[in-house]
Amino acid sequence: MTRIRYSLLAFLSIVIIVSMACTQQRQPCLTPKTASLIIGTVHFKTDTSTVTVDTTLPHATFYPLSSQLNYVTVYPPQASFTVSLSPDTNYCQWLFETDSLKHIPDTVSFYYQRSAKFLSNACGFTYFYNIDSVHSTHLIIDSLHILNNSVTNNVNTKHLQIYIHRNF
């Protein structure tokens, strides 16, 4: 019995040392680090209808205006899009085209409040946002509707609905 106990002690010491040697310095970040604003595009079925249908845009393009980086996103055909808000100011603008080939841009302006949020030691800090208002030009966009003011790193919440002119 005593010999077994001593053997277990020695074996455990080895297991402990091996498990410590496996430990990484910084854990990987497993949650979304950026609070993303999710946009859905819809249009009314007819001019007089109140029923909306999702609008699949052929090659929607989003440009952040006044970004330090040259960043452009061209989406494949779809009706749901993700943009981020500037963490440095309480206001930002995105240039929005329904089709990258047509070059008819609308500007969408976001006004919001920021709050710093600690995610974890692995992910660091990010900003969550509370949207005050959203405005746009109306070349292709008919109107805007805020569905949810709170922009967090929850990727399952739709925040904004863009009503597109029916014959865009």
Partner: protein, 250 residues
Amino acid sequence: MSIQNTCRYISIATFSCLMWLLAVPVLAQSDTPAVDSLSTTNLKKHDSAGRQLCLGIDVVRIGANSFYNDRYAYEFQVDYYARNEFYLAAEGGWGGSKVNYDDLKYTTTNSFVQFGFNKSILSRSSKTDWDMMMMGMRAGFANVNRSPVTYTVVDSVWGNTGTQSIGPTSFPVFWLEVTGGMRVEIVRGLFAGWNIRGKFVMNGKSFRDLSPLFIAGYGKGDKNANFDFNLYISYGIRWNRKGPPAKTKS
């Protein structure tokens, strides 16, 4: 699955298997008195065993300090044999962490104490047998001091923000833990033994605004529950040992 998680699961599985392996001889021992004579059935071994105060140091912590460059801890334990294989136990120590990432920098220091009990589930083979396999509970407290925090929000679209800062603060941490393990007397009075600990924080929400990377005594500050182990080298001081145990008439 990451290498770290794989290692962690292997460690947990190994500990679990070893606990079961150790439980078998204990169960076997507990059956033997039934075959023994009447004179041993009524032995009150705790009376003849006397008292023991055991002081120990966690050598895993000392070893871990050389593995990790972002945290350190020192941990000591003391237990006192009360009676009926029941021990009053306490642990204490200090430690700290240093977070020095590109986007997040701060340091923490803390001291901690925890009080509770151990109950030996290993039957003594004699009054001089102080080997034990035990289970126990603890209540722990730590006071964490955090330095000023500087951070940058990384953003691939708009560019990283300027460096922001948060002032220093101090806050308490309370936790409960369940523990199990074994201790073997290597030479007279000198013990080696390990403990597995499951720790559950009670006031985790109060410091979620920036959970410390590491809290000495508790573990990772951003976890509601931590799994931990210790390997103690300890020395037992004994007194008040009595002569041969009295035999009672049946």
